[in-house]
Every structure is written in structure tokens, then in C-alpha cells.
Point group: C2
Chain length 332, copies 2
């Protein structure tokens, strides 16, 4: 199927449309992940960067900048910045989650060690700040450093909410906004800011990224209970890590006394047996928790499309609208 | 003893002189370590920030700014930035080194967990970038984001050089410049930059911080073999972690065949017995490695003083010269 074919994935069609700029972003990433003194740094980074991630976040920056008619050189720096922040976060996440697999390969903390993942992550954070400083645009510096703080805050909140059955949907949304949506919304917002667009347009770009990121994360959390090998998700990871994601929160909210005792045992106490995951899924089904989670993902996707609909017409806009459908397609 | 007494420690006299500004810095630190959503963040940060660290690095920024006649408000932001970068680094270091004690108290990774230390460190990094962005000065943003990258690079280099007997004095110097001196030199340099001083003065401030930081770290590494309870150092920590610090590198360089076999066993293979540390110290003594390390620390201290001597006369300059003596006083 040709990439111009409207049946191709919107993500691949965006990549084809932004090919020249993406090539420039990849060149910046390769150049800036180098280290004069410490060869361990590019080794660890390359393992992750070249593992075939979708480059979704940098593509959002490039797409937003082009949608806004930006003609300068700095959207490339900003897209690389966004990917570096994302990669740094993944390295630290894998340490925090004690993960063994990412993108179908062993994680860096397993191949090297936790120490390397922590320090190379720090290096990439610093590199991302160097890159954004080169744009000379103080407003994008504010947006991206705010996003970095919000991401870390969301991750800490997730950590303290884990294993805690009193976690509310409000707290869940704060976690999701932090750990995922903050970088999506910063990625689209800075595209409008460097193009010097009016405030309402910049705000709309933010809203699109925010809603897209929330939809994306809810789907990810749903697939942890609803997925199959085909979706590339490891079903049950969040369950084993006792994370309070939306399907669990919704099921707990409807639990009777016996069910509550089950959740206390598996999530709060962490005493899990082989058949607990299927039972958890059955309880979610019984209370419509999976269906309600899916509806929430679709509603955020709709919000993203509605925001994008307010922006200038054209091929990029249509693709970004399709992208909002695509992130929820796995649960459609 | 009064703080005006010339026999008081230069560090305490500086603190007295900069009391108003240091109070403002501490207020910014307390305000910015807060988190609306994640109370774990201020808990972990306070544990470290309020454990009675000397605030040496932020004081360097305040002192440099005042020496340069700066009258604006941003030296306070920059000093808080420097302290946040330092605190973030300590949190991550303790995870990397698997430390149990810092400043005489259990480390955060022990009191909470490694996850909290990693994520709260990330939060403080992000906060530091927010703070420096508020100065609106792109040159200080470049200097401080470069320093953050150099620090991480130095830490990774230290990690890969550990246990490797072929580590040279050149590599050691790169590690020290990275993990310690980069933040000292950035701290003093930005003081001159925000005061808009001429290039040669800014460069001299950098040189002072660089030499001071190197002297400081060499002394720290020396005390790991030469210290006593009185110096507050845990003798033997670096030895147990098999770090290639200057005393080891110098002793290995002079080792005969039997001695080399000893170093291979304890450092490369990590097979350490109870009496290995005294034996290592005896070998260092035999080859004058501790004395040579001490001489190197003194020579960097002298370089720092020489640099400071080229800056405008006055009380601050005299105190910064005394400070260069003070950092090596523990091995004088």
C-alpha cells in the first residue's frame, strides 16, 4: 500500500509528508547523543532511539510548526528536544518500573545496569535543555521546562498512588496529564509558538496535544487488561506492578465486599496468584469498567479532533485529525 | 568566636556576609521544591536540603555576583538553580553508588526507595531549568545546561572507569571536571555573566571555580584513604566501590608485579578481604601516592587563588582566596 493511500496509517502518512524534516531531526539526535569522553552514552541511547520507536512526539512538533506556516530552522531543534526528553523519561521509567522489555527488546537497565540508565537519562535531559536553548526563544524554554517538571511530578504521583485503593479518577487524570499528556501538549504548543501564531491558536494546539496524550495513555492502560499479543502490549504488567489505572479504579468503585477484599489482597497487599489476573478482568467486565474506560478514551479523542478542527484547513490538519482516531483504533 | 573574626572559617564568614541573599535563596528553594500534587517531592527534597549541607555552590554564585557589583535580583535565582542541580545530582548519585549515608543521615534511597530518588531528582532538574529560564538571560542558560551535560558525562565516565586499572590521570581529571568542577565553575561564571562583566573577568571567574572544584574533589578522594572520623569522611568507601581515584591511579602506576596482582584482585575482580584497605594504604604510602595527590590538590588551590587575585580587590575577593585555602585545609 502506498503511503499516499488514504488507507495507510495516519502516522505513516504524516511521516512520509514530514520526511525531510524527520531526517534532519534524526541527524540532530545522532549528533547530540554523542559524547566526547563517555562512549557508554551513545551506546545506551542508540539502543533505545534506534529500536524503532514511532517518533510520534517529535512528529507532532514538526506537524504543528508546518500547520502554522513556520519557515525557520528551529522546529527541528524542538522536535529533537522533545524526543530526548521522551527517551530520558523512558530510561528512568524502566529503572523505576524494574522493566525487562521495551519495544520488544531487553531494556537498557538489563543490558547495562540501572546506574547507566539513570546517568545517561540525566545526560539526555541536559542535552535537551541545550538544544532548546539554541532556539533563543524564552517562551518555548518556559513551556518545555514546565513540561519536564510536570512529567516528573506525574511520575512521582503515580508512584505514591500505586497500591493505594483510594486513588480517585481525578488523581489518575493528574498522573496521565503528567506522565504522558504534558509532553504531547508541549510538543504541539511549541510548534505554534515558534511560528508566532495568535494566542487562541497556540492554546488550541495545546488542547489538541493534551487530549491526544490523555486518549493515548488511557488506551495504553486499557490494553493492559484488554490487549492481546497482536497489540504488542504485555497484558498484566500494570496489574503485577499494582498500578491504579482507570480500569482498576472503576472496578474498585463498584466492588461489593468480597470483591473489595480481592482488590485489597492483589493491589494493596500484592499477594497475587496465577488466576488473579483473569479474575480481575472478569470483575472489570462485570461492572462495565473496561467499556467505560474505552468510552473515556474515545471522548478524549473526540476532544482532540474538535480542537484540531478549529485550526487552518489542509492536509496536515486532516492527518492530525486522523491521528486522533488512530490512537484509539486499537480499542475501537 | 565571632564571624567577623579572621580566624573563623572563610566559608562561615562568607555566609555571614551574604546572609540576606542566602536567606532569599533558601526561601526560593523552599518555595520551588513544593509540588501541588505530589507531597513525596518536598519530603524527599527537604530531607536532603535541610540536612545542613554547606550551600557552598550557591554561595559561590552570590559571591561572584557581588564581587562583580551586580545589583539585579537574578543572582538569587541562579544560586537556587545551582543548589537544585547539585541536590538532583546527589539524589541520583546515591542510587548509582548504592549509598546508605549522606551528611550523617540515611540517604533518601534508603528512607524511601530508589524510585523516589530518581524521580524527585528529575523534578529538581526540571525545576532548576524553570528557575534559570526566569532570568531571561540566554547566556546563563547555555552555561548551566552545558554544565548539567558535563556533570552527567563525568558521572558516566566515572562509572565506566571504575574497576578499570588502565584508567589514566587524564581520565581522572575529566571525571573530576565533570562530576564536581563543572558546577563550581558554572556557579562562579554566571555571577560574572549576569553582572555583564568583560570577557576576561568572566573567564577568570570560570578558572577560579574550575580550579577550586578540582582541588575540592581531589581532597575528597584523598580523604577516602587518608581521613579519620574527625574529617567526617567514611574511609574506604571509594575502595569498596572500586573507584579509580588519584591515589589508586598513582599507586598502580608504581606497582611491581606482586602489587599489581593485589590491585587486580581488589579493584578489577573486587575480591576484597578485611585487611586489604590497610594494605592498599601502605602501598600508596610506599610510593608517595598520597603525598603526590596532596601536592596536586594544593597546586589546584594555588591556581584558584592566582585567578582570584586578578579580580577586583575587596572583602569578597579576600574571602574567596581564603576559601581556596580552606578546601585543602583538611589535608594541609
Amino acid at each position: 500500500m502506498s503511503l499516499d493511500d488514504p488507507r495507510a496509517k495516519p502516522h505513516d502518512r504524516l511521516a512520509a509528508l514530514l520526511d525531510t524534516e524527520m531526517t534532519a531531526v534524526n541527524a540532530v539526535i545522532r549528533e547530540r547523543m554523542a559524547s566526547r569522553h563517555a562512549p557508554r552514552i551513545p551506546e545506551v541511547t542508540a539502543h533505545l532511539v534506534e529500536a524503532g520507536g514511532k517518533r510520534l512526539r517529535p512528529m507532532l512538533t514538526l506537524a504543528a510548526a508546518r500547520l502554522c506556516g513556520y519557515e525557520g530552522p528551529y522546529h527541528v531543534h524542538l522536535a529533537a528536544t522533545v524526543e530526548f526528553i521522551h527517551t530520558a523519561t523512558l530510561l528512568h521509567d524502566d529503572v523505576v518500573d524494574e522493566s525487562g522489555q521495551r519495544r520488544g527488546r531487553p531494556t537498557a537497565n538489563l543490558l547495562w545496569d540501572n546506574k547507566s540508565s539513570v546517568l545517561v537519562g540525566d545526560y539526555l535531559f541536559a542535552r535537551s535543555f541545550q538544544l532548546m536553548t539554541e532556539t533563543g526563544n524564552l517562551r518555548v524554554l518556559r513551556i518545555l521546562s514546565d513540561a519536564a517538571a510536570t512529567i516528573a511530578e506525574g511520575e512521582v504521583l503515580q508512584l505514591t498512588a500505586a497500591q493505594n485503593l483510594s486513588t480517585t479518577e481525578d488523581i489518575y487524570r493528574q498522573v496521565v496529564r503528567g506522565k504522558t499528556a504534558a509532553l504531547f501538549s508541549a510538543a504541539t504548543e511549541v510548534g505554534g509558538v515558534i511560528a508566532d501564531r495568535p494566542e487562541d491558536e497556540v492554546r488550541t494546539l495545546f488542547d489538541y496535544g493534551d487530549a491526544l496524550g490523555i486518549a493515548f495513555q488511557i488506551v495504553d492502560d486499557l490494553l493492559d487488561y484488554w490487549g492481546s499479543d497482536a497489540t504488542g502490549k504485555n497484558v498484566g504488567d500494570d496489574f503485577r506492578e499494582r498500578k491504579l489505572t482507570l480500569p482498576v479504579i472503576k472496578a474498585v468503585a463498584h466492588a461489593d465486599e468480597t470483591e473489595r477484599a480481592f482488590w485489597v489482597r492483589v493491589i494493596e497487599k500484592g499477594e497475587q496468584r496465577d488466576d488473579d489476573l483473569p479474575h480481575a478482568i472478569a470483575l472489570m467486565d462485570k461492572h462495565g469498567a473496561l467499556e467505560a474506560t474505552r468510552a473515556e478514551a474515545l471522548s478524549w479523542s473526540a476532544r482532540a479532533k474538535e480542537a484540531m478542527g478549529r485550526l487552518p484547513e489542509g492536509e496536515i490538519r486532516d492527518l492530525l485529525i486522523d491521528l486522533a482516531d488512530y490512537v484509539v483504533a486499537r480499542v475501537h
